[in-house]
Symmetry: C2
Subunit: 408 residues, 2 copies
Amino acid sequence: MLSVAEALAQILHEARVAAPVERPLKDSLLHVLAAEVRSDSDSPPFDKALMDGYAVIAADLRPGGTRLEVIEEVTAGVVPQRLVESGKATRIMTGAPLPEGADAVIKVEETEIDGDPREVRILADSALPGQNLIRRGTNKRAGEIVVEAGTLLRAPELAALAEMGCHEVRIFPQPRVAVLATGDELVPIHSQPQPGQIRNSNETMLCAQIRQVGAIPVPLGIARDERSELAARIDAGLAADVLLLSGGVSAGVLDLVPSELQRAGVEQVFHKVNVKPGKPLWFGVLHQDERSKLVFGLPGNPVSSMVCFELFVRPALRRLLGVSSDEPRTLTARLTHSHSHSDDRPTYFPAAIDQTDDGLSVSLMNWHGSSDLQSTVGANGMVAFPPEPVEYAAGDPVSVIRWSSESS
Amino acid sequence: MLSVAEALAQILHEARVAAPVERPLKDSLLHVLAAEVRSDSDSPPFDKALMDGYAVIAADLRPGGTRLEVIEEVTAGVVPQRLVESGKATRIMTGAPLPEGADAVIKVEETEIDGDPREVRILADSALPGQNLIRRGTNKRAGEIVVEAGTLLRAPELAALAEMGCHEVRIFPQPRVAVLATGDELVPIHSQPQPGQIRNSNETMLCAQIRQVGAIPVPLGIARDERSELAARIDAGLAADVLLLSGGVSAGVLDLVPSELQRAGVEQVFHKVNVKPGKPLWFGVLHQDERSKLVFGLPGNPVSSMVCFELFVRPALRRLLGVSSDEPRTLTARLTHSHSHSDDRPTYFPAAIDQTDDGLSVSLMNWHGSSDLQSTVGANGMVAFPPEPVEYAAGDPVSVIRWSSESS
């Protein structure tokens, strides 16, 4: 049976970004930039005052105070008209261009006006050239790279691009991810289950996971365990970039998903991974045009689907979104409690990971197995246990993987 | 001058959640639940098979193999009709209800059919009662709390609520946050600045920050430094739950924001905080109906606005969203390089924080001060330096604050 790493490598081999699209900068938050952007100008574009005060020649200042003639007032957005010569000063506001001749700005708090605003008394004994101003091009020169291709665009990157007038950017589009739950036992979440039935929690869960990665969920409801219905829903799902099915991939008599996917032209890449929960995972590809569509047959048990999404689907979606980093990223955390683990498969155990000043800590949820969604409330990741019996003491280090990031 | 902690306390004192609203579960991702939800049923709602195989009486199994009569086949969603008595077995699929009488499930891989499907040979020598099944109510009992009030709803919480049929939830609504940049020097980001002008990067930046917190940005463009224009835009901005202005709060002759806000009925709570960058921060409240509107006059320099947002606005928005945790959360990280710091104000320095197996590490950006947006590209947080000269060596611990979370 494939290992987790082997399965992931096979998935990522098929996951390729789509052609970039042009998008308004303001709509590109948390997208990945497809082409580097260079500055169109120096930043700042002119020598600029960083304080409200007076633009002076630093060498003019004398201990005990200096009287200077005020020749002009320059507010932000206005171009200074007059040269500052020795004995003169220009009243200047934060963000305004420095007048020619001046080489320092004295804060208004270090000055005094004695009735006539055409004369200022500088109280400071001295000033350094360059004080309280920033020279043109200090932050960035015209032609330099502002944001590299492949960068995730967050507030700082959007702001830096906005400053350079880059109001449209080339980004990788968000993949559309169809979600189809299969199983005669499923009813919609607003229904009252009859005996033997359960609600389709997987659709809500997978759509939320998809959204948290930054992709677009396309919920397709429930398909009965019946070939013609399943075939029709699979066709609908293959209109998306990625199709996630849940259920119907085990060894049961009604596990029709692999055969119906293959009938729809989806080539199986693998079936079954040496992992717990999630062993029945199926993965295949529909070769169409230039770009393959990815199809995941997730196990029906909700926590199996949840874990398989984080281990396998999320890295694939991140790759489609243009993120190049290796995923999922395994970190080390210290167990808050002792734990005895024993399983012959690598096990991913829902857990609450917390940042402490001594690194990450992790508490295992009181988890009853792959059908136990309730115990995942509050979990934000999982511990990766090796396929062997281990007795862990509180404080022992374990490998953890964080789930899709969230505000927290 | 107020300290950062004092200013934040005054802000949070005014930040109150709005009345909860009813929302479809699927649209409530990353909202905070306003009222606890209890389970409407046991989870699972019936004793359930966790494997494809045969439901048997464990005590029937004998070393060397056991032949049992197959009396029924139960797939998921179907209710078993027949009692399993000694010598009998029911073919059962993952997720199907356990038939009465049976107390264990034997995996299909541990069985053999010898031609006639009405008889199965169990190869396992023995079985434990409870094996490969989960008992009704193991995960959750009817009436128990599924998700507590005040919980941020992520994929696991939505899934747990979906299982319990909670297709509508009471959540706190997202605040609408108006963004108004002020200043004669500003032009829209798609414009070519004339001499002395710069582009309005603050709107793009603040809208992205607002969105990353989970609130709704309402961009209002640029207001000139002119009283009647500013007054009209402020009135428009006060239609939102929160109004952020940038610029016009320093000591300059055109810094009209505080006086125009007060003319619009906004009561000043404080002006100026002992912080760098961000000293000119202005905060006030418009008392209206039952709930106050919060108004922040952010400094015009972009990194001052960015830092003030993370230090003061983000915690307020999180409070409005119903998140009760203390913010911003200060963590400890180790500097990757030596650094010499000296300032008489507490300084928040843009930085890249990274998770390592030995805790957090932090690299300072090559930052040129409050107007230097370009160096914040790649930053995801800031180091809080104390108001005193300190020589830091590489590896020294410093206090850090992470910015609005993101997928990364």
